[in-house]
Symmetry: C2
Subunit: 376 residues, 2 copies
């Protein structure tokens, strides 16, 4: 059996290992927390720091292949491993571009990928030179994740909440729709593209509110989005799974927002909604099997299960039974012992041919399921 390792033991690792159960593969996880969501689901758990060179290198050198569930890993160790013949998904060169939002934006510019206008800033005081550029979004070059490291700067007075570190200031786009497309790239360069997803965000948490797949898009937008997503992923020149997040504006322009070079929240519906899920697909790539079928089985909606405001501590899922009673609904809880506000604790996928039913149930779930802390 091939030996394949994952850096990080969170929910993405958990769902990857769930998909790995269908294949003969020896699995390894490196993660600091022995009680993380995926620590118990692998053949070999290694406690270690995924940002530390020695830890990552020593973990990786015993493996045939290695992948990530988060970008914030030690890329130098992955480069060393790749040089020694361990196959790294994605390639360290691609990861280096994506890991830093400044490099990512420059990469789009260099390859003429449509993206929002931007300027690079090194310090907070520099922002004063770009007041004419507002409203804009200030994004930390490295270290941001899941809504952290991102600040909305609407007007001059907001500048104080910007970052006093290398960052990009991205001109605000008049967004009509946010779209995500997952693309799979095999070792031989062959690609498979998943149907686009329509992502609706919660403006307070900057977290996904719900998503619908396939997205309902004007035909022109659909073709543009597919073409742009395929193009940018091909330019990254790496096998693996890539989630391309895009904006469609009021004039039907499509702009790349961000790329994740890994399995991604915008593909979780594919577990039940598609013949080959994004997790299944990454195993097919890493085990050198043929790519899977990205077609949908049924249209889907997905709701994230997020830790409620003002609740921190041992988790209880209030309203869970109501959700479990719903037909056509699949509950995924990530097994995290503790909740805190905004923490991703699980997700729910709804399958139906009726878009109205998808929206109705997504809203029902958002109004009946709450992740709270146990009161003593």
């Amino acid at each position: 059996m091939k030996k394949v390792g994952i850096l990080g033991g969170g929910q993405l690792g958990r769902m990857l290992l769930q998909a790995a159960i269908n294949y003969p593969v020896e699995t390894y996880i490196m993660e600091n927390d022995a009680h993380a969501p995926s620590s118990h689901l692998c053949h070999h758990f290694v406690k270690g720091d995924i940002t530390n060179f020695e830890d990552v290198y020593n973990f990786g050198k015993q493996l045939d292949a290695i992948t990530i569930e988060i970008e914030h890993v030690n890329v130098e160790a992955l480069e060393q491993l790749a040089a020694e013949g361990v196959v790294v998904y994605p390639k360290p060169e691609a990861l280096k571009i994506i890991k830093n939002k400044i490099h990512q934006k420059n990469f789009y510019k260099q390859h003429e990928i449509p993206t929002s206008e931007f300027v690079v800033t090194q310090t907070l005081s520099e922002l004063n030179n770009h007041i004419h550029f507002l409203p804009a979004v200030h994004k930390l070059g490295s270290g941001g994740y899941d809504g952290k490291g991102v600040q909305l700067l609407r007007k001059a007075e907001d500048i104080s909440v910007g970052f006093d570190a290398p960052a990009v200031l991205e001109k605000m786009v008049d967004i009509k729709q946010e779209i995500a497309i997952i693309i799979a790239v095999a070792n031989n360069g062959e690609t498979a593209i998943y149907p686009p997803v329509d992502m609706v965000f919660d403006p307070n948490l900057n977290l996904l509110s719900y998503q619908i797949c396939p997205a309902v898009l004007p035909e022109k937008v659909f073709w543009k989005a597919e073409a742009i997503a395929i193009n940018v992923v091909k330019k990254l020149n790496s096998p693996g799974i890539f989630a391309v997040e895009m904006f469609a504006d009021k004039n039907d322009n499509v702009l790349v927002n961000e790329i994740a070079p890994r399995v991604h929240n915008s593909g979780h519906h594919s577990i039940e909604g598609n013949y080959s899920s994004q997790f299944d697909m990454l195993w097919r790539i890493m085990l050198n099997y043929p790519l899977g079928n990205t077609e949908i089985i049924l249209p889907s909606a997905l709701v994230n299960i997020i830790g409620a405001e003002n609740h921190e501590g041992a988790v209880v899922y209030d309203g869970l039974n109501e959700v479990l009673k719903m037909d056509n609904v699949f509950v995924h809880l990530y097994g995290k012992a503790k909740t805190k506000p905004g923490r991703k604790m699980g997700h729910v996928t709804i399958l139906s041919n009726e878009k109205q039913e998808l929206l109705h149930k997504a809203n029902q779930i958002k109004h009946c399921l709450f992740v709270k802390a146990k009161s003593d």
Copy 2:
């Protein structure tokens, strides 16, 4: 989190643990082989003998609930655990009836459940008193599994291959169709019934050749089968998952063949084919969640992946890539390092609205995928 244990670490445990990943539960496996298919997929692996009282009792007493993936476990230990408050799925009383084929047949008779005529035999020589009863099937009272412990006795000369131990001799039924129905029973007695499955057996190995769900049955047979299956499961008076295998004869009579008080091969298609799979359903029962939806998402066919004749040793899957290339096909390999003739190494599920496509692909798979031993 509730602590739930499984006795046995084979493919059923593996698929149970795969489904458990969707829920917050602390999982335990007891199994003699540390490299069994599910040994690495639980929070706590305990090496032990599932037929030994002390092993099972000590394993179980730390748990909230315990279930089985095979009938051949120490029932006395489960009785002791049940008496001490551990919830056992199925109840030890039900398991005792089913575990022994003589008790099972007597149970049907006592409750007037339609089943084939039978006589109980204690020794091989006793069979000579029942020559008029042939053709018949001789089944070992206890210890039989997956085609072992079953002998077809067509005529007097076959008697020598019968069992010299307590057994049942069942009159051969003129079988038109073999049907299986999975039934879920919640802790409060509520039941959910899965659509019937049409099972086609390989007469050589007495192993499943392929199965189709939902079974195409005359309406009368459908209603009879459902009513009989629900009735017999209710008589067992236990929560859990039950697979009821039945024969329909040429006169549209429906007879119960056997019951398995656990997740079962005849329900593997439910992983992709039904909203709540048999594995998902058992967790819902054990975690005291509402029962899931047994409806199909799409019709399915299932082909078992079986070790080829004359091949024993380190496994290779010949033709696997061809199967992985097929649309609408889901491959499940159980991660067993070694193959031997007749060993269940995995299964493949096909989803399609077209019965012809299901049959065509099932046959294609049977003719292109072979489980062989690596040649040195």
